[in-house]
Symmetry: C2
Subunit: 149 residues, 2 copies
């Protein structure tokens, strides 16, 4: 039997969040957190709207997932995020001991690899899922912003 709940399925949900961010004029990054094929948190970047550098999609998703679970550790959870997490988000994910991170596009400048961030030894990480869709959204944002200025 085909399992409909694969990485592409959940990354599409994260991309929907990223699109919601784009509509608000935010850098289009979206995230969902999944446990046993169930989405327990959805969030998108809100740094501009909230005037808050900490309001990345991943940070909000971590807080929401912990609220749902009633505990701060995200064991057995997978984060799907459209862009490679930055060192702030990697740091939060470290503390959460999340089981897996799946991201879309790579961030060559501010991504956790480029910044040399440390992930928790219990955390697996995998990139490139629906990479082109995530990158296309980012490109659209930067073209639209350039045209506004």
């Amino acid at each position: 039997m085909i399992n409909p709940f694969d990485d592409t399925y959940f990354m599409k949900k994260a991309l929907q969040e990223a699109e919601a961010a784009l509509e608000k004029g935010e850098v289009p990054v979206g995230a969902v957190i999944v446990v046993e094929n169930k989405i327990i948190a959805r969030a998108h970047n809100l740094t501009e709207l909230l005037n808050d550098v900490t309001a990345h999609a991943e940070m909000q998703a971590i807080t929401a997932a912990a609220n749902y679970l009633g505990g701060k550790y995200l064991k057995n959870c997978t984060l799907y995020v459209t862009l490679e997490p930055c060192q702030m988000c990697a740091g939060a994910l470290y503390w959460s001991q999340i089981s897996k991170i799946v991201y879309g596009a790579t961030d060559d400048h501010r991504g956790c690899k480029a910044m040399g961030a440390t992930l928790h030894p219990k955390t697996k990480i995998e990139g490139g899922v629906m990479e082109e869709d995530a990158a296309a959204l980012m490109k659209r944002f930067f073209i639209e912003r350039r045209n506004l200025n």
Copy 2:
């Protein structure tokens, strides 16, 4: 004339926040953010109470200071924090472009230096201010916790 608003003055305020955290059974870390000798944000660690790994003193202080200033960049601001920031907090401070970080005790395991975190090129960092007081609070927390278990 003696300036009463020196690093010790503001670190004492951060230590008061750390004491408030200790009273709540939290890892005792406190922070204040200062601009032109005025405290615009005070916070202490609330990770246990909120069940949220992102609720470090620094993260809450960054959000509160940005709210006060009405903008997400903390230029001309100084963060006083009792313990060396972790990579999550260093990452948030990076995005905020804060001018200066002054910390008390060093965190040899999870501090931003040990974790290899990157600070913003505009950010100065200085440690060791009232280090012994900050370290004594941490020690008290871990002794009390050990006795409870």
